[in-house]
Subunit: 149 residues, 2 copies
Amino acid sequence: MKIAVPLALAVAMSTVSVPSFAQFQKPEDAVKYRKAALTVMGNHFSRIGAMANGRVPFDAKVAAENAAIVETMSKLPWAGFAAGTDKGDTAALPAIWTEQARFNDGANKLQAAATQLSAAAKTGNLDAVKTAFGATAQTCKACHDAFRK
Amino acid sequence: MKIAVPLALAVAMSTVSVPSFAQFQKPEDAVKYRKAALTVMGNHFSRIGAMANGRVPFDAKVAAENAAIVETMSKLPWAGFAAGTDKGDTAALPAIWTEQARFNDGANKLQAAATQLSAAAKTGNLDAVKTAFGATAQTCKACHDAFRK
């Protein structure tokens, strides 16, 4: 009956179709979700980095597969930063909520860079992947420096 | 300099292109990754469940978006169940590694069901989504019952 947990969660979900917080039953669920999405994104991003940095032989197909996952994941974490999710097991800084326009701008820059990375990876050109990887890494760093403990 | 962490991870990665374990520096990284992928998948699956169960108004576009994410995520966790990743903060049962063919069969069934769920969601037909959601939930339950503490 372990499937009862997600089903029960689904049943317990709000009927209000507000975009973000309604997706989560409790603030901790939002924190867990955003960390999970960032973990998956970071893992696949690192696989591209290993190729961009020459530590793993470049495989265009593998790079494109990983970049597609990064692109998909780049859209996800932000819903988990809803108001009221600044507590608990999180490295998120209060600036995320006090400087929302700046935070959203950073999130948008990552998504744009991830889209370009995925396009670059589809070309099969390692130099293009290296350039796009570096540009994407800069968007990660910018937000981590500003908004992460 | 927080971006140095993923970059360092990438640099430290093995040059051997073995499919699964080489993706992770340490067994705990594999455990963290697979749990993260399952968390993201479960979250988006629950959003479809809320519509399938009538707790949230059916929105075909939202259902299709979530089902596409579930389909993508359904392919990911399995690399994280590499040999030697049975310890630590995990609910994974030893049967995953002693009955690998059965575990892989369950993983394949989920992926097939998730693909059908995504196709069903694209039709915009709620009954088709309900049927495909139920079938997918059964594949979750089958593996959780057999392979999760």
